[in-house]
């Protein structure tokens, strides 16, 4: 029955942060850390850290703390970063260009292998070493290289067309920058980067105090 249990999304979203912090510790030659020290650095409570990491097994040792490297390696495995991931980008606009130029992905094992766009005029160009191909070759490329990650950076009008092209392909994960909630075929998973929603959330947070006065639970 426990098989049905899923790790909560809040925990999952903290894992990359643990991974980043542990990577920084390693870069600085720190090999061992207590949950208390880690808690100060990451600004979350030590008990939260212990609770989070206990979801995945027993990593720490009483009186010793965490072995940074083995914890880093375990989280790397948990995050599915044990092997490199090849990603195709669909959409060579500013967002597509921004992510292919972003140096931090490669360090984490992600490689943008090809960019696809419908604009014939830019086919053959390279962005940060990654070449642009025509959208009509997308499916053949995915099939040939068994690509499973796709970054979707097209305007929302073009999303349906792309989803149609990849239906039944080896693509399993979509990193979606378009402001739509995609209808996903079975077996496909999406991670949304909804920039407008993010900016509205910031606006909400700034507005929160006045809101709690007006809309919050009344005494």
């Amino acid at each position: 029955m426990y098989k049905e249990k899923r790790i909560s999304i809040a925990v999952i979203r903290r894992l990359p942060r643990y991974y980043r912090y542990l990577g920084d510790l390693l870069d600085n030659g720190i090999t061992r850390i207590s949950s208390k020290e880690l808690s100060v650095r990451m600004n979350i409570t030590a008990s939260q850290i212990r609770q989070d990491l206990n979801n995945f097994g027993k990593f720490g040792q009483q009186g010793y703390g965490y072995n940074v490297e083995s914890l880093y390696e375990e989280i790397r495995t948990i995050l599915g970063l044990g092997k490199p991931h090849d990603i195709v980008i669909v959409g060579a606009g500013k967002i597509g260009q921004a992510i292919v130029n972003y140096k931090h992905f490669e360090r984490r094992g992600f490689k943008f292998v090809k960019i696809f766009d419908k604009n014939e005029a830019i086919v053959g160009n390279k962005i940060n070493g990654t070449s642009i191909d025509h959208i009509s070759n997308l499916r053949a490329y995915i099939d040939e290289h068994k690509i499973d990650f796709l970054a979707l950076t097209v305007p929302y009008e073009a999303c349906d067309e792309v989803m149609e092209l990849i239906k039944g392909s080896s693509i399993r994960g979509i990193w979606n920058f378009s402001p739509v909630d995609l209808e996903l075929p079975d077996g496909m998973i999406v991670e949304n980067v909804h920039l407008t929603d993010s900016l509205m959330t910031l606006s909400y947070k700034l507005n929160e105090d006045s809101i709690l006065g007006e809309y919050g639970p009344k005494k």
Copy 2:
């Protein structure tokens, strides 16, 4: 005592989505909707919708459903979008360019009024109508125009310098694209867009089944 209660972050993160969907309904001339219909469109349960919206007051009417326009307006107010927001961008790299070119923000009441960068060579250029100014003029501009939103799109090495420049200014909200957890002065709020973390989360989700076998709670 209830004043201490905060709306949960999960609810807050759904509000922009409600706002988007209601906006689409309005664009399509739909003036009234039941929580059930909205639930089908948004792919969340009707009871979740009722529960979410009850956090902010009573919007629906039994047997009538929601008045789309008034709900839209209420959520707009809750999100702090009742008045337009002027935002400065710091960092004219690809991410800065991408967001200033992104047409959806202006529709939601956000306006990028100026981009700042340390590269003298591009000062005076315009991106999508927004001009680039030198970083040395950032603080004076913020003070003069009482800007409260700042989008931070510089490499992480440059973050400290920017944070120093805006200390004690009118900036209250930072929309942070740099892969660091900023140390915030009192009264400042951050909304992070951690792209690497997002991509790692997608990787985790794809890897989840094997993980639950190996690391998940054992029977």
